[in-house]
Symmetry: C2
Subunit: 368 residues, 2 copies
Amino acid sequence: MKSEISALERFYAVIPAGGVGSRLWPLSRASAPKFLHDLTGSGQTLLQDTWDRLQPISAGRTMVVTGNVHAHAVEQQLPELDDANIILEPSPRDSTAAIALAAAVLMRREPEVIIGSFAADHVILDTDQFLATVKEAVSVAASGKIVTIGLRPTEPSVGFGYIQKGDPLDYPNACEVLKFVEKPNIKLARQYVESGDYFWNAGMFIAPAKLLLEVLQRTEPELHAAIDKIAQAWDTPSREAVLKANWPKLKRIAIDYSIAEPAAEQGLVAVVPAEFEWHDVGDFASIAELQSQGRKGNLAVLGSARVLSDSSSGILISDTDRLVALIGLEDVIVVDTPDALLITTKEHAQKVKSLVDVLKQSGHSELL
Amino acid sequence: MKSEISALERFYAVIPAGGVGSRLWPLSRASAPKFLHDLTGSGQTLLQDTWDRLQPISAGRTMVVTGNVHAHAVEQQLPELDDANIILEPSPRDSTAAIALAAAVLMRREPEVIIGSFAADHVILDTDQFLATVKEAVSVAASGKIVTIGLRPTEPSVGFGYIQKGDPLDYPNACEVLKFVEKPNIKLARQYVESGDYFWNAGMFIAPAKLLLEVLQRTEPELHAAIDKIAQAWDTPSREAVLKANWPKLKRIAIDYSIAEPAAEQGLVAVVPAEFEWHDVGDFASIAELQSQGRKGNLAVLGSARVLSDSSSGILISDTDRLVALIGLEDVIVVDTPDALLITTKEHAQKVKSLVDVLKQSGHSELL
């Protein structure tokens, strides 16, 4: 086992910044997705928060993978991001393509690199605990494992995949992973949570780039070959040509299926339990929850709106300077943007996605 | 008793168009009050509806009394309104000043004129019945009475003053008026409604201008003298000077106190019961009620908004071209204007007024 210091020196953070976040429409749009917004009231966007959180262990060693269309916004929000550390995807090709290309590019630069992938749109409030968890994960990864960070379930959610832990490893908190399981039904979810053997899978993976790519080579040889071809050309003048020729054909597959699950079957995956508070702010109800932090009956306000509220609770997110007056509304969700207004309640927050589907079908693409 | 025909030939309609309608903020503003909006979905504003309703009996004989600031809007909305038939008030001085000045100006032109005063912001759905009622009122007025139109109470409302009827007169429906009573408490309101002897007072008065002014001369001689002075100058080059000198000093008093109640005590007032449906659309709940017309669980939409609604009921009034998406809201009231957004429920519609008071106090005069 290599020492923690030398393992940490090999560490490179990768931030996949993608995903529109349909359930956050009309705030989150194709042109301005979730991670480009301040959804916590921190004064920074989720992407900036993610970047800052990683800096203590990845200063100068953080790569962002995002869509071509977001290049300008990402560069503006992250002035410290070096050109060499941004991968611009010509089009979305799911998480395997994004993370494997980052791994392959970095491995060509540093064969022993250990990458850690952290989505740009998660909310983590305790940075110290987060970093402690990641450091342990990096140590475990250095021993030749793909390490995931497991979230302790706070409820039998059917919105997450789960990670079943096995025997403890020779680290403070790490365990083997027996398997990854898909989003369960509520009955299974309850069993998982009661057993104490399951974590939520938030898709945070820390592993030697080499190991990730070896697994991918076995499970998806064609995809691996294409990624490898692009990575080989990446730091050369032929990058654009090779990217253009190969990217559109890449198989769309989530890293859970292409790497995590098959690797777990081979006993290659470990889990470090997260000792930090984590939120995916997947819908407006969870943003409201995060803002209220237990304070019942309050109205949380994000954005620059002037607000007049008479006995209303819930959340107002405003992207305009209009005055918003609310009277007698309970658990309301109001999202006020220049061209679209959403009003619903916490209870119905999940239905925003189907509304966006209706918008797509009815040809309101200018609002998506 | 003069014949109905000759009485009708003496008739002149007066439309006092004033009153901001605080409970309809942010749609109704000081600069664009209630009567300048389409609140029924008729495709016309309340003022235009009022004008059209009266035309069969007052074509070319309709006078509008409104604030100086609304001159342009009123002229735009009523292209048939002759300059000689508009009275522009330098500032609001309550209903006596408005109606008495119209009466005095018209009486100088036609000494035998019978005026009928009909607020610009009422909703009356059955024009034929309305006209039949007004015609009877005009006949009664020609016999030397101040005639009010009494609304049959549909509930024991505490929001209206009441009219107590006396003996029937020698007309199909008209009765004497014993007295006008102020807005009652709920117990009194129930007694009034159960007795069958009371009508709601909606402030519709039909009377010979001469009689109205004689009563005013007795009850408010100073006010009468000032009004008379203005009326004398009205159709002369000195109108502006005399108006400027006298208007600001006019006593603010409602016509109910200055004319209707004292006249009733003298046995000068009659009532004709209204056989038509009447709404005062005083708040958004009553607009929603009017729009839904018994259809429960529907969302009514007024204005040009593009709307996406998933199982929501209530009313959306839009003054913008934004997309408005509503999910799972019951009896909601949404009023979307370029600089202010109101969201509440039917239950809380009355509270809009106090919110406007808060706006006044907090110096948001640009939004009032």
